[in-house]
């Protein structure tokens, strides 16, 4: 029951924790824009190093962030190869004749089998995956026997640099957003968002109501997860077992999960509305907040630095300044 935690907040007290959530949110946006404006490897690497320093000084465990990248590995590898093959600008850096032949296809089939077969024995799944992918390409270079067709694998400078940029950007986005979620409590993120969006109230945008909805959602996710678990067990006791049933059965069995969850949720909504109203909540009414957000020196420094980086990056991009390489 206690296994679920809302968000990924990890308690700590480094400098990042002390920054006002509004500033953190703004900083995230500013730094992301800055990163996407950079267009040279040198600058990108400098930005990357800056991010790494920021991360290491934040006292967030490194492994947590690495784990955050894992789900992206498949996408990244896929994009990597698409870019490498399709972009053909700049110098030709590397060329290799690749054979699609019976022998190489057979070898690839063997590699796939090996991958799934040995998957459970290694803990370094991602590295293992990448290794297998590399192997699949190596065999295409080495096995021309029983030829079907062939192609030339070419790596151009343009392809490499575009891919490099892409990878850098993705990784920086992940680092920055992880930093935000690891060091800011979900309630603070909601408060920060609500505060930043306040100006929208002028055009009658329901900012406070949205924030309340967000907050209620956060509050109920663990509860809903628990209840889903209980209903799954109750229906399992009636013969519904997602692990052991056929696909077509699974589809109809999902209804036995969805309907009870919906029913519980609707009842909950009604009860909650009554409770909130009885406790004096008025939709659109003025409220004070228990959480305080104070703008301090560190916040000023942080926002100035961010704007500084942004300005630098705009000036470099528009050519007003140039860095001698």
């Amino acid at each position: 029951m206690n296994n679920i935690v809302i968000g990924q907040y990890i308690p700590g007290d480094s400098w990042i924790y002390k920054i006002d959530p509004r500033i953190k949110l703004s900083a995230l946006v500013i730094l992301l824009v800055t990163t996407f404006l950079l267009n040279s490897f040198l600058l990108m690497s400098m930005m990357f190093v800056l991010m790494i320093i920021m991360f290491l000084s934040s006292s967030v465990p490194f492994m947590k962030m690495i784990r955050g990248l894992k789900p992206l590995m498949f996408l990244l590898t896929f994009t990597f190869f698409i870019q490498i093959f399709s972009v053909r600008t700049g110098k030709l850096l590397f060329e290799q004749q690749m054979y699609i032949s019976y022998s190489s296809l057979g070898a690839i089939a063997g590699i796939i089998v090996l991958y799934f077969g040995l998957k459970r024995f290694t803990r370094f799944r991602v590295t293992y995956f990448l290794l297998m992918v590399l192997l699949a390409f190596v065999v295409q270079a080495l096995l021309p026997y029983g030829p079907i067709s062939e192609y030339t694998f070419q790596i151009y400078e343009g392809g490499l640099s575009q891919t490099g940029f892409f990878l850098f950007r993705i990784i920086i986005v992940v680092i920055l957003s992880s930093l935000l979620t690891f060091t800011t409590m979900p309630t603070d993120i909601t408060n920060g968002l609500e505060s930043l969006l306040k100006p929208l109230k002028v055009i009658r945008f329901p900012v406070s109501e949205l924030a309340m909805m967000l907050s209620l959602t956060l509050r109920f996710i663990p509860t809903l997860l628990e209840e889903t678990g209980k209903i799954m067990k109750a229906q399992a006791s009636r013969g519904v077992d997602f692990n052991e049933s056929k696909f077509k059965d699974k589809v109809s069995q999902v209804i036995s999960l969805l309907i009870p969850i919906f029913v519980v949720s609707f009842k909950r909504a009604e009860d909650l509305a009554n409770a909130m109203e009885a406790r004096g909540y008025i939709v659109g009414g003025k409220r004070t907040k228990i959480d305080l957000m104070k703008f301090r020196m560190i916040d000023l420094v942080a926002i100035v630095v961010c704007f500084g980086l942004l300005s630098l990056s705009i000036l470099l991009r528009t050519g007003v300044i140039a860095i001698a390489l």
């Binding site: 206690n2 296994n3 679920i4 935690v5 209840e227 209980k230 209903i231 067990k233 109750a234 229906q235 399992a236 006791s237 009636r238 013969g239 519904v240 077992d241 052991e244 049933s245 069995q253 209804i255 036995s256 969805l258 309907i259 009870p260 029913v263 519980v264």
Partner: protein, 282 residues
């Protein structure tokens, strides 16, 4: 064949990867035809224990034997069929109802275990009759009937699968006294007339003592008492179990002390009055 627990423990990991042991070193045997009650405070491990009985959970240590099945199961082994023989009724089982009509909902369980629509309907009607649901309720939506009726529908849904062993997790929770009496009478009938083995989790000492011949007391994941009800209530360490005594038993103690009359273990109002009549029949 019953259910056997051999040195069973169940542990799981919490948020910070710390280890929680819900139950430890459980050794027990539930024989066919028994009526066993399991009592203990919240967190004592009762629910974890009974969820092993229909393979919802598998022991992290030790072995559970349910009829011909052994847990932990081997890879690729299917344990779904256990749930037809061991029917588990959850707390607040009303929450599991979802079908268009009461009848269809009761048929859901049997159909999942391979019965045809016709066969399932027969079993469903039989089960509905057992729990006292009328014909007109069968055609209603399960969401348009009273809470007490919903509970009966949920119980019928398990009974329709014709399990040999019935495990009931606090079946009277949230019911008023009249409703509790009716539900417990049903389980007694199933035990006596239909020879079902019953395992009952309850907080209500009055119910436990009135219906169960064998009582298991759980505390912090261990079984601290396993025996007959008379032995439980005059156990020398009874106070250490932090349990209440049944109303009648409690009053009997008081009266025997105050009025100097012989003590006899009694568990219902009827038994108490009977005994008093005997005592005062000069």
């Amino acid at each position: 064949m019953g259910i056997q627990f051999k040195q069973v423990s169940y542990a799981y990991r919490g948020v910070k990867n710390e280890r929680y042991e819900a139950i430890l070193n459980i050794n027990l045997e539930i024989k066919d035809g028994e009526f066993v009650a399991i009592i203990g405070h919240t967190g004592s491990g009762k629910t974890t224990l009974v969820q092993h009985m229909n393979a919802l959970l598998e022991p992290t240590k030790g072995e559970v034997q349910i009829f011909n099945y052994r847990l932990p199961k081997k890879k690729k082994e299917k344990v779904g069929p256990i749930r037809k023989c061991v029917g588990l009724v959850f707390q607040f089982p009303e929450y599991q109802l979802f079908e268009e009509t009461v009848l269809k909902d009761i048929m859901f369980g049997p159909k999942n275990f391979g019965l045809t629509n016709e066969e399932a309907e027969v079993k469903a009607r039989e089960a509905a009759q057992l729990v006292g649901l009328t014909e007109e309720i069968l055609n209603k939506s399960p969401f348009r009937i009273s809470g007490g009726q919903m509970r009966r529908v949920a119980i019928a849904g398990i009974l329709a699968m014709e399990p040999d062993i019935l495990v009931l997790d606090e079946p009277t929770r949230g019911l008023d006294p009249q409703g509790s009496k009716e539900i417990m009478a049903l389980f007694k009938e199933l035990h006596v007339n239909h020879h079902k083995t019953i395992v009952l989790i309850s907080h209500d000492m009055n119910i436990v003592s009135q219906y169960a011949s064998r009582i298991l007391v759980m505390d912090s994941g261990h079984v601290v008492f396993d025996g007959k009800r008379d032995d439980l209530f005059n156990h020398p360490q009874f106070d250490a179990f932090h349990l209440a005594r049944p109303h009648a038993y409690e009053q009997m103690i008081h009266l025997s002390q105050q009025l100097n009359i012989p003590f006899k273990p009694v568990y219902t109002k009827g038994e108490l009055l009977e005994h008093l009549k005997e005592v005062y029949h000069e």
